[in-house]
Amino acid sequence: MITKTAWKNIWRNKTRSLVVIASVTIGIFAGVFAVGVMNGAIDQRVDEVLENEVSHVQITHKDFRSNNDLGSYITGVNSIVENISSMEGVNAVTSRLHLVGMANTARKSAGVKIIGIKPMQEKKLLSLHQELMDGTGDYFEEERGELAYIGYDLAKNLNIIRYRITGDVISKLDSAGLPGEVISAITGFKGSRFDNEKSFKKEMRSLLTSEQESGFGRLILEEAQTFRKRAKFTLTFVDRNNNQTGGVFRVGGIYDIPNSMFESTMVFVRDSRLRSITEMPDNTAHNILISLDDVDDAGTMTEKLRKEYPDLEVMNWKEIQPDMAMMSEMAGAMYGFFMALILAALAFGIVNTMLMVVLERIKELGMLTAIGMNKKKVFRMIMTESVFLSLVGGIAGMIVSWIIIRITSSTGIRFSSMQEGFEAMGFSSHIYPSIGADFFLVVTVLIIITGILSSVYPALKALKLDPADALRTE
């Protein structure tokens, strides 16, 4: 009866209750959706680390991580790879050579890490081959040793990517629905060539308004970029005898991932080519990458390999990328704290409403006490009303959040204007929000707690009422 009465009571003043419910709905939606976006970004970043950058477990020479010395290599790699490949729970294993050097074109140079890989093996562990940009080439499909797979940012830094507005580009932009004034403005620099993004953007800024640039600049930039297929560049580095050496390479393909640091530094070439230039002995490598059937087994596999190879350094992805591991592990607590802050703010609104409720119903509360409703039941009635108010808004907020997250988890949300900033931190600017069912359970519990806590002060006020005084109230 108390529950039924409490439910009916919240609809006595529909407008007021709906305002409170709407504020809780909006607050919960804002919180859950923001958490969904954060969670999606973190999940994508972790996937990125696992699938494109680090894999699950790595083995290196004990000194390699501290000195990056070419001489700190693992010997007997073939038997190690064979042994680990046969272990239960291991998906694939590959070995790599690592060098630090310079990439140079006629106009530009950049510091890079040169990775010697076995492309067919790499494909079994990582997905970097799937990040190939359309029209830039392929992922080591030809056996030619001078082919390299480089990042989009490095290609831009080395002026391998250039910009040109052609008739074809203008008609593509026109059919993409760009406004006529933007099309006519960019037609102004039709035929001009730009060596780099900076000079192209400078010209674009002079022709477009800032609104036009922020709305369509990225699309124009993407359409205007041209690649010199199989463009030549040199890689220079020191060999194992500390002699300056290098080789001429050609861009075999360009990859694009949401990590500008990785993109601008990591150059992949065939292991065989790098080994011959550096005179690295056969059956050696600087690190071994291991992918597992289940990433959650990374910890136990690490321990197992440490015992198996005590002279080598074995680390799992969480140890190699502790920042990501910490972010991933702390995410739950962070989301909970974030939601608790939002609910704490909402609680003040609920307290205010419930105080009004008590003040408006002083006489009725006095009557209820007079006819025999004890203090415990009065307290429970006020508390139930408060929990209902919070829960109705909270559930509405969660339903709205669930629908929006479900839609955006397949379409994604583009933060185009913040792309550079996101990618500088290794995050994609195209985020697919995601959230686990368990989080909704946590939020439901938090909402109930908020409702209960918000009711305490108004309910105590109600308990302090003297029934005789309350009945005299007009």
Binding site: M1, E364, M367, T369, A370, I371, G372, A468
Partner: protein, 229 residues
């Protein structure tokens, strides 16, 4: 059989500057089945006396025994429970719960006492029929007239089969016809079920129906008249 005994009951309110003696040495006994009215001018102490009898207020001095139980010896939670089981209240402004129907208002107290649903439904309908509102069981207070609301309040007061009903100015907001109907109903319940009714009132119509009239002035009983009817 005595259901209520008041011995030298005083109530003093301490306002900022002066002491107000609302009830000043009242001695009264009520037998089971009485139909009594407490009358007197405003400020004579009628409502204060009723509140003390009902355990809503405590005497500054003296003793009130309901069914031989001294209310001052009970803890506040026990007083509330005692009230629920022994005393019915009817208020001047009805004080029904506006979001509940007539039936729900009447059965509210039985719910608090955890009566089984079947028994509760039977008692509720019996009471609503007794006050002439069997057909309006599912109406909300806002859909009822003042007189009908007060009849629902009477049904609610009788729900838990109390020993007596305290009614504070029950007819003050009612027109003549509603007052007449209400008084007839209460009189019938008094006669049929032997429930003691004690009213505080200004209303001559109530006084006319009462079989005992106690007059208060300045917190003192100045007359106590029993009539044969």
């Amino acid at each position: 059989m005595k259901v209520l005994e008041l011995n030298n009951v005083h109530k003093v309110y301490n306002t900022t500057h002066v002491e107000v003696h609302a009830v000043n040495g009242v001695d009264l006994d009520f037998e089971e089945g009485e139909f009594a009215a407490i009358v007197g001018p405003s400020g004579s102490g009628k409502t204060t006396l009723l509140n003390m009898i009902g355990g809503l207020d405590t005497p500054s001095e003296g003793k009130i025994e309901v069914n031989s139980t001294d209310l001052s010896t009970l803890k506040s939670s026990a007083v509330i429970d005692f009230r629920m089981r022994n005393i019915g209240f009817v208020f001047q402004s009805y004080n029904l719960i506006p979001v509940l129907t007539a039936k729900e208002n009447v059965e509210f107290i039985m719910n608090l006492q955890k009566w089984p649903k079947k028994k509760r439904d039977e008692r509720t309908m019996e009471l609503l029929k007794a006050v002439g509102l069997g057909e309006r069981a599912h109406s909300k207070p806002s859909q009822l007239s003042g007189g009908q609301q007060q009849r629902v309040a009477v049904a609610r007061a009788l729900a838990s089969k109390p020993k007596f009903v305290l009614a504070d100015e029950p007819t003050a907001n009612l027109d003549s016809k509603s007052t007449e109907t209400l008084l007839d109903i209460m009189e019938k319940l008094n006669r049929d079920e032997n429930i003691t009714f004690i009213f505080s009132t200004h209303d001559a119509r109530v006084v006319k129906k009462a079989r005992r009239v106690i007059t208060l002035e300045d917190g003192k009983v100045v007359s106590d008249e029993t009539r044969d009817k």
